[in-house]
């Protein structure tokens, strides 16, 4: 399905995750974060950069992995993206929801 985010028509799934990463830009990230009641600080952007980098390397993401990355620890990750940090952070970053649960 399609949704208008930050004035652009973007392909998303039923849960609002982007299905076509090249359509992502910082304005779209900002718009999704506003919907999630988060205002992005430079710390948030460091985390988003990191998870997008892992996504581009096709390396699977998990909260544990982010906690061990040296970018941010798990506690801060929860402070930055409350409740479900990995789900929220990946949505803002424009990448699929991690399939870490099997």
């Amino acid at each position: 399905m399609e949704k208008i985010i930050a004035g652009k028509t973007i392909e998303v799934n039923e849960e609002g995750y982007l299905t076509n990463f090249p359509q992502w830009n910082k304005e779209i990230g900002e718009a999704i974060s506003t919907e999630a009641n988060i205002s992005l600080t430079p710390r948030h952007w460091q985390v988003i950069d990191y998870i997008q980098g892992e996504f581009k390397k096709e390396s699977p993401l998990s909260i544990r992995k982010i906690g061990k990355s040296g970018v941010v620890d798990i506690k801060e990750m929860y402070a930055l993206f409350p409740n479900a940090p990995l789900k929220t952070a990946t949505k803002i970053a424009g990448i699929p929801k991690p399939a870490s649960c099997i």
Partner: protein, 396 residues
Amino acid sequence: MANHLQHELDKNEWEINIIDEREEHHYQPGYLFLPFDIYEPEDIVKSIKEFIPKGVRLLTDKIEKIDAANNVVQMKNGDHLHYEILIIATGAKIAPEEVEGMKGAEWQKSVFDFYTFEGSLALRNKLREWEGGRLLVHITEMPIKCPVAPLEFAFLADSFFKHKHMRDKVEITYVTPLSGAFTKPKATEALDHLLQEKNINIESDFAIAEVDNENKKIIDYGGREIPFDLLVTVPTNKGDELMERSGLGDELNYVPTHKATLQSLKYKNIFVLGDASNIPASKAGSVAHFEAEILTENILLFIKGEPLKEEFDGHANCFIETGNGKALLIDFNYTHEPVEGTFPFPGIGPMRLLKESRMNHMGKLAFKWIYWNVLLKGTHIPFVSATMQEAGKNFA
């Protein structure tokens, strides 16, 4: 695998060795039944020697390190074993030390696991005398072995306390880091409904940060607190530390593996079977069984220098005990989530998928016999294929 391969390989050219640090083999699905006095310890534990096929050598010793660059296994006793092909099947185990306070003062007093023989036995002794209160059935983080086991534990607990005429004294809460009862949407719907029916509360999206032993509560990273009188937890699951020592594992010590060929991503002559790999399939015994059929073919192709078959589809088949002598059955793979239908014969059954029935429960109990007498011997299960069958399933 040893059984499969020793039928296929020329004995003049190949020597098969199994290295295991233990002398006993455990029927791990039995750990679920031990706490409720449904199985006895002797149902679960047998000597490994009984199961070693003729012509295969068993080495009972610890491995210090796998030196994959040089095709050598370094044993703890100093021996160096050279290999042409290595199959890693070191499984997954619990790591309660990963969560602050989990292995604290209350460990095996009011905090228990049922993923080890010792934990399960200690919990049995506790349940025999427990007088009731707040029971939490808890998953620390995914992935875990047999992702349905904690749900089954909750269902069996409901049934157990009913039989002891004390269900009204026990409040059961299912605590999970997932957003619902299971990882796949359609099964989650059916299982959420069953939890409700059995009066089991669910606390979802709970990412545990610590166990507070003094005040008997668990606390998550968001500050949410849940008190307990009895905490039955599934701690973090990790691959074997040997993988870390050998530089073969990821952040959870699982070996990065090609999900369709089961070959290590780093070393062409290493293959990974079962829970030791990082493939996105369930960590369940049925998966290892289905993998073994495909892996045998691929190892033979590898020896001939031919391209491997990308055939493994993530097939898993699990019985889910739902208590009161009934069970559900689910059958799924990488692309298809569990749905309703019939199994193993399309349209006939006799087992029903994703529906509670007595027939499914009989299937689950019969499985123990099948495990010891059929699976360990590498025999194919009649009518059940290694890749998932789509007929007889309602995907709509």
